[in-house]
């Protein structure tokens, strides 16, 4: 056997081991945590790092979580030099400005891994806690105007000191949360998760030897980089631009411009956000690391989704954004709702690269809408916070419809089952369904948004909501129509129906009130008049498009459950569409 062959196989085995360790850590976290947001919605991630802070394995449902993980090793070791670390230490942090985090609810715990008395790497996990204090129950609201309103800021501090819980630190966290009992359960789960990770990483180093593993990791990073560069090289060199907008800054009703210039040169790709808005008053600012996470997601999704999840491929990608801008905010800008901007960032970048790789990009997407319910549960007399998000839909592709009811781009947590919502919280869900006619029309149709009605049975109930694409709809591609915008309503379908804004907090609601969320939908791809009439008919049969919508949006006339070819041709000709397509 040649030497290279052996090395390749060993490297592969080691790589699988780290991936399996990350999966095992993830399973521990989800299985042992207390809050619905982690145990059911899986709003959490784990990662493994080498001593230089390169990520070598990741298990994550939301690409944005990368942003709360990537800077961790650097920030912790700056404060706690690597020589001072002891086996059994664990560091807790969440702060975007001094801790490498990206918003405060993501409490991240990181442990060094020791083999033969030296640090060989780090394991970390991140869990989105549903309340970490601050001005708003649920600690995430687009109308916060400073990070100090968003909750407890934790610089990298020891939660475990050589294996012993630092109770003082735990007590600070618990005292600052509106739901301390859940925090304690979740933090115990995070501690158990890293304990699992440390044990497994240690085993791998012991089984293969420190040198072998280190060299395998370094070649894995190189391998990912080489693959990313190979993909980028295939793209035509040039500079590509795009522009999109946030509906508002979370405080005032004004459009916030986002701009990107993408330069492809050889095997490098550079994303420059110069020209985007300055950092905004509300909480939709992105720390640079969150912007990077969004860029890394897009590059991987549209070049090679099978790129290994490690830091190697990041090396082929350069990201710049002016300091103090929305994509590289400075303290004390609020960042709680950075995920909303992250999802528009996804559309912004795909749109910029649409001409270069039309067969890979998605049309604009409908990002999730979030609601936070809080108040007293009359069944127990206890205070509760329910942090939930509701799926929007993805945009169409060159040859297929967008997905209905799915979280898009950088977000990824799952739905909380309706039965769990009702069991855990004083809420009943009255309906949850697809919204007919919302998918942006196109040769391929955008995914459908959803409607959910929730009846609030809490005492002293409060509501906070946030969602983008309520004013600026998801942009279509190559003639595809925009998606539909999303909305929040109170008392829907009644004569005192109120349309709520796209970001609000501490909104008092009486017991028995119903709140409706309609999530934005995905945009279309290609000219709707060139959509195969049979597909339009199929959509009508399946209730995705109404007969009226078929005629208005697609120029397809239906009669007796089939396409009226002549009238359709006539109508499409009138509109100058490409029926033959």
């Amino acid at each position: 056997m040649t030497k290279t062959t052996i090395d390749q196989i060993t490297t592969e085995v080691i790589s699988h081991r780290f991936a399996a360790t990350a999966d095992e850590m993830m399973a521990t976290l989800v299985k042992t945590s207390y809050s619905p947001n982690i145990k059911e919605r899986r709003d959490c991630s784990v990662a493994i790092f080498d001593t230089s802070g390169n990520m070598v394995a990741l298990s994550a449902i939301a690409p944005l979580h990368l942003s709360s993980l990537l800077g961790m090793v650097k920030n912790i070791t700056e404060r706690h030099p690597i020589e001072s670390l002891k086996p059994g230490d664990a560091f807790l942090t969440n702060d975007p400005y001094v801790g490498g985090g990206s918003h405060l609810p993501d409490l991240t715990l990181m442990n060094p891994v020791f083999v033969e008395n030296q640090v060989v790497g780090f394991v970390a996990n991140l869990a989105h806690h549903s309340d970490i204090g601050g001005k708003v129950a649920g600690s995430e609201s687009a109308d916060c105007t400073s990070i100090f309103q968003e909750g407890l800021r934790v610089p990298p501090v020891k939660l475990l000191n050589e294996g012993d819980l630092v109770k003082d630190v735990l007590d600070i966290v618990l005292l600052n949360s509106r739901t301390p009992h859940q925090r304690e359960g979740d933090l115990k789960a995070q501690i158990a998760t890293n304990a699992t990770g440390v044990r497994r990483v240690k085993e791998t180093f012991q089984n293969f030897g420190i040198k072998t593993v280190q060299s395998a990791l370094s070649s894995l990073l190189d391998y990912a980089e080489a693959r990313a560069r190979a993909e980028i090289s295939k793209l035509p060199d040039g500079e590509y631009h795009n522009e999109d907008f946030l509906d508002n800054d979370g405080v005032e009703d004004k459009l916030i411009p986002l701009k990107v210039a993408v330069t492809i040169a050889g095997d490098e790709i550079h994303f420059d956000f110069t020209g985007s808005a300055d950092q905004i008053a509300g909480a939709r600012n992105m720390p640079l690391i969150a912007t990077q996470a969004g860029v890394y997601y897009v590059v991987k999704a549209i070049t090679d989704p099978t790129l290994p999840p490690n830091s190697g491929y990041f090396r082929a990608i350069k990201v710049t954004a002016p300091e103090g801008s929305i994509f590289n905010c400075r303290a004390p800008a609020a960042v709680g709702d950075r995920g909303a901007t992250g999802n528009i960032l996804g559309d912004l970048l795909m749109g910029a690269l649409a001409d270069v790789m039309p067969e890979r990009v998605m049309a604009g997407c409908g990002p999730l809408h979030g609601l936070i319910f809080s108040g007293i549960d009359p069944r127990t007399g206890e205070y509760f916070v329910d942090y939930e998000t509701y799926a929007g839909a993805s945009g169409a592709l060159i040859d297929q419809e967008g997905k209905d009811a799915v979280r898009v781009h950088v977000s990824g947590a799952a739905n909380l089952p309706v039965e769990s919502v009702e069991q855990e919280f004083p809420l009943t869900v009255e309906r949850y369904e697809l919204l007919t006619d919302t998918g942006g029309a196109g040769k391929f149709r955008g995914g459908l948004g959803t409607r959910r009605d929730v009846c609030i049975l809490a005492q002293s109930g409060k509501l906070a909501g946030r969602g983008l694409r309520e004013t600026v709809a998801a942009p279509g591609l190559f003639g595809g129509a925009k998606g539909h915008v999303g909305s929040f309503f109170l008392h829907p379908d009644s004569n005192h129906e109120v349309k709520l804004p796209g970001s609000f907090s501490e909104y008092p609601v009486d017991s028995g009130s119903i709140v409706r969320v309609e999530t934005p939908s995905g945009a279309g791809y290609g000219d709707p008049l060139s959509r195969e009439p049979a597909k339009v008919l199929d959509d009508v049969i399946n209730g995705k498009v109404s007969s009226a919508g078929a005629e208005a949006d697609y120029g397809v006339v239906l009669k007796d459950h089939s396409v009226d070819e002549n009238l359709t041709r006539e109508l499409r000709d009138q509109r100058g569409g490409g029926y033959e397509q």
């Binding site: 062959t5 390749q8 145990k39 497994r200 089952p417 009702e422």
Partner: protein
């Protein structure tokens, strides 16, 4: 030959239908025939004819002597994979028409934009909603609107619906509304397959219940139709005992129930292999084992603890969620037909695509140009060109070499045998990783395990796998290639009963818990009595799914009859905390544990299968030797070749050697050694 009390196991696979019969003396007879996917019962009948011929008797005389016939089938699996299931309709709570399409609101691979969700198994126009509402505690908030229901049923009935799925919110807490639907369907005289979500899965989570009940109804009518057709054919040919069907849980059910709980047959075939491994574990008194069954396209891995295969709660099948228990079998895309290729980065990769049976590996000479694992193993001399599949298929080394040369050797600048050994090593490492994931991920150390290797392609990797994982030994049964069918004969009738509790341990007194289980026991025993079992042949297993109140995932805590005699429930708290701590290294000592569900499994024990045990005889393996053959390990060397079937108890084979049988080959490296046990199985030891 006078054979009474014959037992027959039948396994319908993708390519072959395997049949095994065992008589009272333990004499095993096997037959293999091509599967007939259009009507699988035809292949079964052909196989039975073959089996009869081998024991020189007529089919009817064979079937008349048969006292037990257990059948594992891929019919349900194929209906799902090929999307050829029943035409379905659904009834759900008003406001929740789209449960199936709304899924979980996310997708597992965030970066893969191009894989669409599968089309829902029930199109939207066939999903009707009805006014009714059960609250989270089971309290009825709005009674079922029967008028609306009747209109909906009458409307759906006009559409030739074959299966009706009913999923109301919180039906696991109070199923009365779902039951009323079935009642009305009957009253209307509509003969449709009805799948009630709470019967298929009695657990919180409307998407899980809806999806599982839908899969059940999707494959149910097809499976029922097939089973009754097969039953008729068998009856006509002289069989006069009920046919039993292998379930994903490793138990068997009579065909009527198997049809109703069709979703439970999705893993029917692989479950047989896992059960067989369990049986061999019991025979050889092996406390911990991991089995891997490597066939043409995939490898199925299962853990066996105390001779019982482990289970899991949920399966994602082609993006469709099936949340019923099944033996925890994980499938890897690595088999003899797996295609070796270079990935985008120029690195050697294997599978998951497979050359299948047609064209098959390049060496089959049926026009396959892609190099497969089998081609690599042939080049290395591990497989004989003459004895493959009992000599029915002669293999072409030249075709194998050309394929590897073109696709792998040239681009990598490696000699063909080096490329072949890299492919072989990659396969071994894949299997090892799969086994590691199955063991280590559960906090179990592979060094504590024995490895069972079966299926046609496993014997060439067993030694490498145990060496990589430091597993002390591998056991390869002589009947390796038809082991699933044997596994069917080592099972019992099994039914699972659950009762959702949803209360802290501290809230319940011992009497309440006792009465929950007493009720479950009564229901379970009645069912088995109706199938003709007397209480001596029933076995009950009690367990509780526990967690902390605010968690979702449960840990399974086993309970024993003596536990229920205690006046307190301290034993349960202690058992729960110990189990939890073993898994997760912490407990919450200020909180009581929480009982999610009480489970009762009832087994109707079938006669034990006893394979013949042989005394130690002649220790000289020389008699079983069939010459020598050149094999490549790190260089070309000459290896002794033995016939598996002629090796007997106590014989020891020193490597380098290859042990051939009509359906499999086993490789023993120069440092390796193999021993034959009393059942004729080979034991390989790792080079620790």
């Amino acid at each position: 030959m006078d054979i009474e009390h014959l037992r027959i196991g039948i396994d319908i696979g993708g390519t072959f239908t395997d049949l095994v019969s065992i008589d009272e003396s333990g004499l095993i007879c096997t037959a293999k025939t091509l599967s007939t996917p259009e009507d699988p019962s035809l292949g079964v009948m052909t196989g039975l004819e073959l089996l009869a011929k081998k024991s020189t008797q007529s089919l009817s005389s064979l079937l008349k002597k048969t006292t037990l016939l257990i059948h594992g089938t891929t019919v349900a699996t194929n209906l799902l994979v090929e999307r050829k299931g029943a035409k379905l309709a659904m009834i759900s709570t008003e406001g929740f028409r789209d449960i199936l399409e709304l899924r979980e609101g996310t997708k597992a691979n965030r970066y893969n934009l191009r894989t669409p969700f599968p089309q829902p198994l029930i199109p939207r126009p066939m999903r009707h909603t009805i006014k009714e509402r059960v609250g989270w505690s089971g309290l009825i908030k709005e009674s079922l609107n029967l008028a609306e229901l009747e209109t909906a049923l009458k409307e759906l009935r006009q559409h030739n619906v074959e299966g009706l799925v009913v999923c109301f919110l919180h039906s696991h807490r109070n199923p009365s509304h779902e039951i009323e639907v079935r009642k009305l369907v009957k009253e209307l005289g509509w003969k449709v397959f009805v799948s009630l979500s709470h019967e298929v899965l009695s657990r919180e989570g409307e998407y899980d219940r809806a999806s599982t009940a839908t899969v059940n109804a999707y494959v149910g009518p097809g499976l029922q139709g097939y089973l009754s057709k097969l039953e008729r054919r068998l009856e006509k040919s002289g069989l006069n005992i009920p046919l039993l069907v292998m379930q994903s849980t490793g138990g068997v059910l009579p065909i009527l129930e198997a049809g109703q709980l069709a979703g439970g047959s999705i893993n029917s075939g692989p479950a047989g292999g896992a059960m067989a491994a369990g049986m061999f574990s019991a025979m050889s008194e092996i406390p911990l084992a991991v089995s891997y069954d490597m066939g043409g396209t995939s490898t199925d891995i299962c853990l066996i603890k105390g001779s019982v295969p482990l289970e899991r709660h949920t399966t994602e099948f082609e993006d469709v969620k099936i949340a019923v228990p099944t033996l925890d079998i994980s499938a890897l895309g690595a088999g003899g037909g797996s295609i070796a290729h270079l990935d985008r980065g120029g690195i050697l990769d294997l599978g998951p695509s497979s050359a299948g049976a047609d064209p098959g590996p390049a060496c089959y000479g049926k026009g396959g140009l892609e190099p497969t694992l089998t081609d690599a193993n042939l080049i290395l001399g591990y497989i004989s060109t003459e004895t493959f599949l009992g000599g029915e298929l002669s293999l072409s080394i030249e075709d194998a070499q050309n394929a590897i040369q073109e696709r792998i050797s040239k681009p990598l600048n490696l000699a063909p045998e080096l490329a072949a050994i890299a492919i072989n090593a990659l396969a071994s490492s894949r299997i090892a990783e799969g086994i590691r994931a199955a063991t280590v991920r559960r906090g179990l150390d592979p060094r504590d395990f024995s490895l069972f290797a079966f299926g046609g392609a496993s014997g060439l990797h067993a030694e490498a796998v145990i060496n990589e994982l430091s597993i002390p030994r591998a056991i390869i049964p002589r009947e390796a290639s038809v082991l699933s069918a044997i596994g069917f004969l080592s099972t019992d009738v099994r039914r699972d009963y659950h009762r959702s509790v949803g209360r802290p341990i501290s809230d319940l007194d011992a009497n309440e818990l006792r009465s929950v289980f007493t009720e479950l026991e009564a229901e379970a025993k009645n069912n088995l009595e109706a199938q003709g079992f007397d209480s001596e042949n029933m076995k009950l297993v009690h367990s509780l799914d526990c967690r902390y109140a605010r968690q979702v995932y449960t840990v399974n805590v086993r309970a024993y009859p003596s536990d229920f005699e205690c006046d307190e429930l301290n034993w349960l708290t202690a058992e729960f905390e110990t189990t939890y701590k073993n898994l997760f290294q912490h407990i919450h000592d200020t909180e009581p544990g929480f009982i999610d569900t009480c489970n009762l499994t009832i087994f109707g024990t079938l006669p034990r299968l006893a394979l013949p045990k042989h005394e130690i005889g002649d220790l000289d393996p020389g008699k079983a030797q069939k010459g020598e053959r050149n094999i490549f390990i790190s260089e070309w060397l000459s290896a002794r070749v033995y016939w598996f079937e002629e090796l007997s108890h106590g014989m020891r084979v020193q490597g380098p050697a290859v042990i051939d049988s009509p359906t499999t080959s086993v490789l023993i490296s120069p440092d390796g050694v193999a021993e034959v046990d009393a059942y004729g199985s080979l034991h390989l030891y790792s080079n620790l």
